[in-house]
């Protein structure tokens, strides 16, 4: 699933490790989401979107090719 996590994280000046700690997941999980190898659960997707003050639809694009 395409997403804007890497872009939003860079804008916020956060490292993958810092975002991972804030979300309560491993740095590898953040990396896997950013590289679209892993689709997060709905609770984690909501947490990520809220962390960047966006809606889930603004961060994750299920229908993008």
């Amino acid at each position: 699933m395409q997403n804007r996590i890497r872009e939003l994280r860079a804008l916020a000046g956060l490292s993958q490790g810092q975002l991972a700690e804030a979300m309560g997941v491993s740095r590898q999980t953040i990396n896997a989401i950013e590289t679209e190898r892993y689709t997060p659960s709905l609770p984690l997707a909501i947490s990520l979107a809220r962390h960047f003050s966006h809606s889930v639809e603004e961060v994750f694009h299920a229908d993008a090719s």
């Binding site: 309560g24 997941v25 491993s26 590898q28 999980t29 892993y38 997060p40 659960s41």
Partner: protein, 133 residues
């Protein structure tokens, strides 16, 4: 859903402690079977495996997940998929072994019992889980 089992599996000591405990069980079993030296070798192998996992945790994603299979949702998902894959491999091997024994005209035990246990465990788990989810 957070479970007590997940709480233990979140600790970086989970798998090393499990490996050590399994090593001690090996030691006890082999001691009872009059092979204490073999038991000590088994314990050393299991303890070494746990130590290697601890040492590699920060450098290897695989070791990190092996150490803490419930660390986060991705680790749980990968652990579940890997467990299912391993189960399919084991069941497949058991089925092949049953067929080979039957083709030789020999008793398919204990492979048939193992296969039956796997099948029953799957059905019971499926029945229980579909009532809860």
């Amino acid at each position: 859903m957070q479970t007590l089992r997940d709480t233990y599996r979140r600790s970086r000591w989970f798998m090393p402690a499990f490996a050590l405990a399994l090593g001690l069980v090996f030691l006890a079993a082999q001691w009872i079977g009059d092979d204490p030296a073999g038991g000590l070798v088994s314990l050393a192998i299991m303890a070494g495996f746990g130590a290697v996992l601890l040492a590699l945790e920060s450098r290897s994603g695989t070791a990190a997940i092996l150490n803490r299979p419930a660390h986060d949702e991705r680790a749980r998902s990968l652990d579940l998929a890997a467990t299912a894959f391993a189960g399919v491999v084991v069941i497949s091997i058991i089925l092949v072994a049953v067929m080979v024994q039957l083709a030789r005209g020999e008793d398919p035990s204990p492979y048939a019992e193992l296969g039956a246990a796997g099948g029953v465990a799957y059905l019971v788990a499926l029945f229980g889980m579909q009532r809860r989810r």
